[in-house]
């Protein structure tokens, strides 16, 4: 696979120039899809068959690229760093003298290098394919079928026009609608009467004057807990119990009007007015 047909993208050229310039590596990191794309751009600067690529040199170029990017405070995605670590490892294995007996497991460094070269070739082949596909005559860009829509009367299809994707979309939309229809009533949390009673007893000393029950009952909490109605209802019940015990007075001017409460002086008997 020669690189002649490969159409360099702008980012590609940037990396190429940068790699040739050695230390002063300037790259637009955003121009790359990922570490493999960077490696491919760097490999192309060696201008050799990718299978005869010097992996050690490539590793050095890549490490320089990563170093430079970090110096320039680019935040590099983790996979760029993983690749750097892997290349550093591969480079060291390639440079170290071979052990007497082969490693028991794992690939030989040469095999790993060949695998990397293969992946680069494959990616390059795909990028070349993209360029070649772009050059194909495309419908409604380069070639055109008959333009008059009303004259197109012969319909080819005998199959139904539905793909698996359509089926999936139809299914999911149904299930989503079904989920929306399901009504789960929330369990209503009530303000316990015991709590209301206790709270009213504590409040008694502060209820010297007539106070609207609405002001005595706790306000509801928007985040949850008992509703305002439950607070008012339980407070009213507790208040009436205190009235019965002779500790509180209550009055209401008319039906549905505000109810007022006030602490009763100790010792006054309960007057039951008819």
């Amino acid at each position: 696979m020669s690189g002649d047909l490969f159409q360099s993208s702008l980012e590609f050229e940037a990396a190429e120039g940068a790699a040739e310039a050695g230390e002063s590596l300037v790259v637009d990191i955003d121009g790359y899809e990922g570490p493999l794309h960077v490696l491919l751009a760097l490999a192309r600067t060696q201008k050799v068959d990718l299978l005869k690529l010097s992996i050690t040199r490539l590793a050095e170029q890549y490490l320089a690229f990563v170093m430079e990017a970090r110096n320039r405070r680019f935040s590099l995605a983790a996979d760029y760093l993983v690749m750097a670590a892997w290349l550093a490892y591969l480079k060291s294995r390639l440079l170290l003298p071979k052990p007497e007996r082969p490693a028991e497991k794992g690939m030989e460094p040469e095999e790993m290098a060949a695998a990397l070269a293969f992946r680069l070739m494959k990616l390059e082949a795909m990028r070349k394919a993209v360029d070649q596909m772009r050059a194909l005559p495309q419908l409604r860009r380069d070639v055109f079928t008959r333009g008059d829509p009303e004259a197109q009367v012969v319909i080819p299809s005998r199959e139904i026009e539905a793909s698996l994707y359509d089926l999936m979309v139809a299914y999911v939309s149904q299930r989503q609608k079904e989920a929306q229809r399901q009504y789960t009533p929330m369990a209503v949390e009530a303000y316990p009467l015991d709590d209301a009673r206790e709270r009213m007893r504590e409040m008694l000393p502060r209820l010297k004057a007539w106070t609207a029950l609405g002001g005595v009952a706790p306000q509801g909490h928007p985040a949850g807990g008992p509703s305002r109605a439950s607070f008012v209802a339980s407070t009213l019940s507790a208040s009436l119990e205190l009235v019965k015990d002779g500790m509180l007075e209550a009055k209401q001017l008319d039906a549905f009007e505000e109810i007022y409460v006030r602490a009763r002086e100790i010792g006054f008997p309960l007057e039951l007015t008819p």
Partner: protein, 220 residues
């Protein structure tokens, strides 16, 4: 290049392409305007007319404008072909999807998922098209009939078997399950459904005597 373009044969090619791709009839001016400088549109149009004369496609002049159209004597070939593509209605596709994933399902099951009552015609259409089949009766009160998909369904959607239906993971991957799905959303595995749990079709309560006629072979 312009020398080539003034070549009458080349101009004829251009006019041919323009007439073919045009959405409606073109006037002489329309054509002349789109041709390179120096090309003789009138002459090219006549050349196209001569070339297509007597063919299956001909050049026609309508109200001083030109268009290619099929030869009038072949109208019989065309009229017959005005058939609609077989397009499944939204309701039919949705019903088919539910049957595929939840089979064997009863009519009531389908209605429960869809939230609307099922038009009798929808299921009939799917049965008639051969995408859906009866699968047996469920052992539950009323012994309702259940439905499932056919081999033709698998063929239509290029599936080797029901286990190849995309599952929840693929729906998620395709971006279809982003919102509005309750926790624990599960797509049933249609391959797990076993017809062993179902009663045969003739076992229905609603046609007990009649069904006997069909069991024939099993009766002593």
């Amino acid at each position: 290049m312009s020398a080539t373009l003034r070549d009458p044969a080349e101009t004829e090619r251009l006019v041919e392409a323009l007439l073919f791709a045009a959405a409606g009839p073109l006037s002489l001016e329309d054509i002349q305007r789109r041709l390179p400088e120096g090309a003789d549109a009138g002459r090219a149009i006549e050349a196209v007319r001569t070339r297509y004369a007597g063919r299956g496609v001909e050049l026609e002049t309508v109200a001083g404008r030109y268009r290619l159209r099929t030869a009038p004597d072949l109208a019989w070939l065309m009229t017959e072909e005005r058939e609609e593509p077989r397009r499944l209605s939204k309701a039919a596709l949705e019903t088919l999807a539910i049957i595929a994933y939840h089979q064997p399902v009863t009519r009531a099951d389908i209605e429960q998922v869809r939230g609307v009552s099922l038009n009798r015609g929808t299921l009939d259409l799917l049965l008639a098209m051969g995408f859906v089949r009866l699968r047996g009766r469920r052992r539950s009160p009323g012994r309702p009939v259940t439905y499932g998909t056919t081999d033709l369904f698998l063929e239509q959607f290029s599936l080797a078997n029901l286990g190849d239906l995309p599952g929840a993971a693929e729906m998620k991957a395709a971006g279809l399950l982003d919102m509005g799905v309750p926790a624990g959303f599960e797509v049933p595995d249609p391959t797990r459904a076993d017809d062993g749990d179902l009663l045969s079709m003739d076992d229905g309560d609603d046609a007990p005597e009649f069904a006997q006629d069909f069991v024939g072979g099993e009766e002593p």
